[in-house]
């Protein structure tokens, strides 16, 4: 893949539309949560551990809290953190990749080295260190997710930006009198933008998976504020008696992540004519 030309007539495909649909529903539900559901912390001691029913489609937990309400509210935490992390990670990855490609030399060397450092420190180690010593509030969690995932965008954009910068048309622009800014503005950024959309969805999906894992391990936001990963961990204690407590929040993570990946693949098909390099692929 050397150039991300717009392939005319290509759409994001059925998968892409399904992904977009899933995301619309999930995002709408979480944004509108205060208006369409009750209080996630409200306890009803008369309906402890009830299996899914018409009144409580996802059932209730050991404090009699409605799990559908809690799952929807859990999405607020999970999505806010993931999306914010993905935005920051994409911006960081994009800036470093573009700077490296445009300036070359030591700028490129340093940004490449930073990516190596990220690979050398596994996210889980970073998470344990930062979240146990610094504390697991919103800021540090976002920091861990950004540090753990910016390389995704970086690698996708960098590979492409380097390929573009080595193209003869960029040299032709230099000969035509274009400076760095003109090259970035006229050639590099327009060619990278579609790819950024793809990288962002993958980044968000990865951030969501990481965020829920942190929540599950007890390193994420602390109870009683509901969060998908943390809810699964809480439900695991009752897995023999009330398996739905762990099941539905986990399902929510899977569905959202699937939506992001489907949309990402669809966008990749639309913009680059094939699935873009994914997690870990060079």
């Amino acid at each position: 893949m050397t150039t991300a030309t717009l392939h005319k007539g290509r759409t994001i495909g059925i998968g892409g539309w399904i992904g977009a649909g899933i995301l619309t529903v999930v995002v709408a539900a979480t944004v509108l949560a205060p208006w369409i559901t009750g209080d996630p912390l409200e306890q009803h001691l008369e309906i402890l551990l009830q299996a899914p029913s018409a009144a409580h489609p996802f059932g209730t937990d050991d404090l009699g809290r409605d799990l559908l309400t809690r799952t929807i509210h859990g999405g607020r935490t999970a999505l806010t953190i993931s999306v914010m992390s993905a935005v920051l990670a994409s911006v960081l990855g994009l800036s470093l990749a573009l700077a490296g490609a445009l300036f070359g030399g030591w700028v490129d060397a340093i940004s490449g080295r930073l990516a190596d450092v990220q690979l050398a420190v596994p996210s889980i180690v970073l998470a344990i260190v930062v979240l146990s010593f610094v504390g697991n509030s919103f800021g540090p969690i976002v920091l861990v997710l950004v540090l753990g995932s910016w390389v995704l965008t970086f690698r996708v954009v960098r590979g492409h930006a380097r390929a573009v910068i080595e193209q003869q048309y960029v040299e032709a622009a230099r000969v035509a009198g274009a400076g760095r800014a003109a090259i970035a503005w006229r050639h590099l950024i327009p060619s990278v933008l579609p790819l950024l959309a793809v990288a962002f969805t993958l980044n968000a999906s990865y951030a969501l998976l990481l965020e829920s894992s942190l929540g599950y391990l007890g390193l994420g936001v602390q109870p009683p504020q509901p969060d998908w990963g943390q809810m699964v961990a809480a439900g695991q204690a009752q897995i023999f008696t009330a398996p739905w407590i762990a099941f539905f929040p986990g399902l929510a993570v899977v569905v959202t992540s699937l939506g992001l990946q489907l949309l990402g693949d669809g966008l990749a098909e639309r913009f680059t004519g094939g699935p873009v390099t994914r997690r870990g692929t060079k």
């Binding site: 889980i124 699964v232 870990g280």
Partner: protein, 321 residues
């Protein structure tokens, strides 16, 4: 590799991988370990007085003061840093709060269990992932090309802990075949190992597929076809062998993600390994133990990467020179 000429070249003992390459990788690894140590140091320092974290919460103030002095937390930062490096090198860490003894042996004791789980999971995952990738690139039946890969890729959207939960729901809760948590021995190993395998089958399948497709396009495959090699030899010697190098490299890059998966898996199943120990240590606020766990994990990670690099160089001569 035996040359067809006899005698081929004066036979001298040669390392399969050049010392220069190995040395370079080892150096990178040491830098990574040093980075992890430094990260821990600064995280510790950023909390204010680290001594407060290293003693039990109910410790009297003079105990805190004693430790502050002994560990040098009242000294300037560079000096503290050197002291900390010394602590790590000599292995004399402050006592674990929970166990009341040096945390290093406690952590090392858990390593074999983690290795057993990791090796089993890696074996299952590599075999299955490789097979799925191979089918998806070469199978004639379009069902075999798309089906298994599609399923594998869908698993990329399932967080590792939830894979574990689902397996527990089906095989422990409903079928009762395997223990749900705290299992020992072979039956206890099955679900965690499968969870770990499922966590990286998609990546391996996808990367191997891409590598195979790349090689199948290469011009030297046409040359090999022109030689009239039997199909199985062509595939084994020229296609699969040439795809291994790229695949291993990507597996190396993925190692960090897999490590995360391993820690999560141990937590889900209460597997008595270093991952579960470290998470418990965090939850118990046993900071001396957390530090040791992190360093042991980081060192293990470096060793895994080194191993992958050596393997990649073995199958890919261009990396060696």
């Amino acid at each position: 590799m035996a040359s067809v000429l006899s005698p081929p070249l004066p036979r001298t003992f040669r390392l399969p991988v050049s010392g220069r390459y190995l040395g370079g990788r080892l150096l990178t690894g040491l830098v990574a370990v040093w980075g992890a140590i430094t990260l821990v140091f600064f995280a510790l320092y950023s909390t204010g007085n680290p001594a407060l974290l290293l003693v039990p919460p109910d410790a009297p103030p003079d105990e805190v003061e004693r430790l502050t002095r002994v560990l040098g937390f009242d000294r300037p930062i560079p000096e503290q840093y050197v002291t900390f490096l010394g602590t790590v090198l000599t292995g004399r860490f402050p006592d674990s709060i929970r166990y009341g003894e040096n945390p290093l042996p406690i952590a090392l004791e858990k390593v074999p269990a983690s290795l057993a789980l990791g090796a089993t999971g890696l074996l299952i995952g590599t075999l299955l992932g490789g097979l799925i990738g191979y089918w998806s690139a070469t199978a004639r039946s379009s069902w075999l090309r798309r089906g298994p890969l599609g399923v594998a890729v869908a698993f990329e959207s399932v967080p590792t802990f939830f894979i574990g939960i689902l397996l527990v729901l089906v095989f422990a809760v409903n079928l009762g075949w395997f223990p749900a948590t705290n299992g020992r021995g072979l039956p206890g190993l099955v679900l965690p190992a499968v969870t770990l395998a499922l966590a990286f089958i998609p990546a391996i399948a996808r990367v191997f597929r891409t590598a195979l497709l790349d090689v199948l396009q290469a011009e030297h495959i046409r040359t090999a076809r022109a030689k009239g090699l039997p199909h199985h030899l062509l595939v084994r010697r020229h296609v699969v062998a040439n795809a291994l190098g790229t695949t291993l490299n990507v597996v190396g890059i993925q190692a960090g993600v897999m490590l995360g998966g391993a820690v999560v898996t141990e937590s889900v199943f209460g597997w008595p390994g270093i991952g579960q120990l470290s998470i418990n240590a965090v939850q118990n606020r046993d900071y001396p133990l957390v530090i040791v766990c992190v360093l042991v994990i980081a060192a293990g990670f470096v060793l895994i990467n080194l191993l992958v690099d050596v393997l990649a160089a073995l199958v890919e001569p261009r990396l060696r020179s």
